[in-house]
Symmetry: C2
Subunit: 491 residues, 2 copies
């Protein structure tokens, strides 16, 4: 086997695949990478899941102390390899070294945030009371079992191999089987191998597998494995829904925590437009075009009041979009879908501004379109496309927002003294998972209070978050011990 | 319309149905009740859901103070009507006045437990932190939306009209549409009307509907209503799974919180059998035959060690089962399924004891069967049937328990000084939602630490409980407010 053969990580072992050949492309040039992978075969899925299942237990794999050391050890190993990781990820994603360096910091910060959380003991969510004349009832948690993680394309580090789903599952004591994203197999291989060294040094081989392949069958085989107990997914609505449907049809259905597409509204009130149209326009475009618009929290839907101030705002947004040049998308399929989405938008609305896309690779133009209601069937256009909706009164605005599909986040730009803001919060609260005030939704902090999820189709289960410490809850099953001696219930 | 026509509650209005006629039977005699219902039509479902949807809002219907008053008011109204409720419920269920009087106390206690919880403010699950250089991030909750509640047959009060699902949904601020169980429509009508008077006196008409009907179509129509956001269900595995499948296929899938069938293991260790075989036998049979065995926490699966002490235990259980007389089941279908389940059990195992069933109505015999492994495909036999499994060593016991399907609860009878107990806890913890030590699983306390749920098929979503204060979480969706002024985020 040549040194340019990409390897799967099956339990503790590196193995070549047996399926059809694939590899990544440089999005800036469209050139294929010399490193070739062969898709993982069903036997590799079986062995990966089996190796993981052997570690499923009430206390989780290892001790809590070992889990803390593992998460910190992986974070250290990734930080130490920053320049190599960033360089490989940049070649495969075209996202740029600055962004990827920041994303790696977020990734390792996330791993350390979970280890710090484990140190507090609060992750056990332990509740005690006395029932039936003095019998002690203790509710604690057990790991849900083997977790399958499906990597995202748009965050090759923070929502990928050692991203939020993996970090929260490992913190919860669950072994993981990761389906790497075919857009960045070399990044996943590198990160997976760095993590695997730490895993192996702690004699925990088996808790981590990384399987590569572009086919739907590979994902299906993983989700249908009887020992898989839960799925974490970040990606498109059709992709997430397919996994949801598959999981629901299993003999034993399992939860799929899918964080999917989202058209996130950003509302500008008349007073805010009046006092800071230019500032909001700048901020909006910055958020819209961040990462070539490939953020699940991209503020795609901009609500602007009729009138001079709103006009100024839209004009400024248009200017910035027009001069934004080209934007490199992650892969050819995403670029093609973006073009298709833009065609749908422009056929339904009026093009206000377009930038110029010129050059090799998966370059696209940024687009700003004005649309009229109804907005019910509006779908995410993944990439640098913004939609402007004008409104004439606060009543009309509320009516428009009532028609917006479920979303991850909304933003409101308002002044302090506008009584209508209460109504805006109330209507948006029933449609989104997070409301940002005088800010932009694209930054998602990893913190105890974070909620990154929302009503369908933005997420599969609106009760959970895929970012922040509460993400661990997805992989912890509550259990009550009634009258059981303490010695048997400790973790 | 004669006074003997049963009525639906649609929003605030009492209405006759338009579908086919049905009514309840007295399980002790098999005699039909003179009160006849006609199944609710699709238009009634639509209007009930529409009336409920009008109350969906960020803060929930009414204020928290109003919700407290509502829950307490309903509890008071039900307590005041105790003798009538118990008498009607007894006629429709045959469960006996003592049991039903206790169940009503549990039902009203549950309503008051949720109102007391609302008084603490802890139900908001509020978490705050600072992100991005000092922006305040607050995570709170919003009501998930309209909740459809499917009543259970076996708890005509505590898991029915004003039972745990309704109480937790109303506490969470969600309007409810209840599908009454056709075994006890008059009980549901009476309890629903008592509750509706309180609802109406508080000008909250619309938050409560009670629809009657035996058909699968009625349930499907409710679950498929676009404005329904979540489902609570207590019943059989096929019934629960059908709703899960239906909800998963909706254009917008919604969570179904189904608490379903369960074969709950009860393990007796050699030392426990040695020291208290007779006491455990008495306790086991009491738990097994409680409510004619129609408890989801029925300890159907008894693991007994080989040897003299185990023999004594089994003999005593057999004696008690043999002399237990007849047992009145809830309806004809349940009785028929019980007989079918017993036939399956007896074809696979050896009958150790049988009681005599003699008399009218839905009377069945109690049965004790000894079975050999494998136990993987064992299914709940709803009714007074116990299965004995003998084991020869702690290794064999562990192996047997590893093959037990997901269950709501398990019990372990052991002495303090048996080191094998740690292994028993560890293996059972991965298969059940609650472990009872030297006790019986049939009592389920309504308390903060309670977990009444478990791995499939005992429940649809193992992360949630249908009993206890945490049951509210099923109907609360987290939301994060980032930098939003406090005035807009209060409840």
């Amino acid at each position: 086997m040549s040194s340019n053969t990409g390897m799967h990580l099956v339990g503790g072992r590196q193995e070549a695949g047996s399926g059809s050949e694939f590899g990544s492309f440089d999005p800036r040039t469209g050139e294929p990478s010399p490193r070739r992978f062969r898709e993982a075969g069903p036997d590799q899925v079986d062995r990966a899941v089996e190796a993981a299942a052997a570690w499923v237990s009430r206390k989780g794999y290892g001790t809590v102390q070992e889990r803390i050391a593992l998460l910190d050890g992986i974070a250290d190993a990734l930080d130490a390899a920053e320049s190599e990781i960033v360089s490989v990820a940049d070649r495969e994603s075209g996202l740029g070294e600055n962004r990827l360096s920041g994303e790696l910091g977020r990734t390792t910060g996330q791993l350390r945030a979970f280890s710090a959380f484990l140190r507090t003991g609060d992750h056990e969510d332990r509740v005690e009371d006395l029932v039936f004349d003095g019998v002690k009832l203790v509710r604690s948690v057990v790991p849900i079992g083997v977790v399958a993680v499906f990597e995202a394309s748009n965050f090759p580090l923070a929502f990928a191999t050692m991203g939020g789903d993996t970090a929260s599952a490992l913190a919860a004591g669950c072994p993981v089987v990761i389906k790497a994203h075919p857009d960045h197999p070399e990044t996943s291989e590198l990160v997976g191998n760095l993590a695997a060294e730490v895993v192996s040094s702690m004699d925990l081989d088996g808790i981590l597998s990384v399987l590569h392949g572009p086919s739907i069958e590979l994902g299906s085989t993983i989700v249908e494995s009887p020992a898989v107990a839960a799925v974490g997914f970040t990606g498109s609505v059709p992709g997430g829904r397919a996994l949801m449907d598959l999981a629901a049809r299993r003999p034993v259905p399992i939860p799929v925590y899918a964080e999917m597409g989202s058209v996130n509204p950003l509302v500008v009130t008349p007073a805010a437009a009046e006092s800071r149209a230019e500032e909001i326009a700048e901020g909006y475009v910055g958020s819209l075009l961040l990462g070539a618009g490939q953020f699940c929290t991209n503020p795609g839907l901009l609500f602007v009041p009729d009138g001079d101030a709103g006009e100024r705002l839209i004009e400024k947004v248009g200017d910035r979009v027009r001069s934004s040049g080209d934007h490199v998308l992650l892969d050819q399929r995403i670029a093609a879908r973006y073009e298709e989405g833009c065609r749908t938008l422009t056929s339904r609305g009026e093009v206000l501004a377009e930038s110029l896309a010129d050059g090799p690779g998966y370059r696209v133009r940024a687009v700003l379109v004005e649309m009229k209601p109804p907005l019910e069937d509006i779908e995410e256009v993944f990439g640098p496309a913004g939609v402007v909706v004008r409104y004439s009164s606060s009543e009309e605005l509320i009516r428009l927002l009532e028609g917006v599909p479920g979303a991850l986040a909304a933003a409101i730009h308002a002044e302090e003294d506008e009584p209508e803001s209460a109504d805006l919060i109330d209507v948006l609260a029933m449609r989104v998972g997070r409301i940002v005030w005088n800010g932009y939704p694209t930054g998602v902090a990893v913190s105890p209070a974070m909620m990154h999820g929302g009503p369908y189709p933005s997420a599969s289960d609106p009760l959970h978050t895929s970012v922040g410490l509460a993400a661990m809850r997805r992989f912890q099953r509550p259990i009550a011990f009634q009258g059981v001696p303490d010695a048997y219930t400790s973790i």
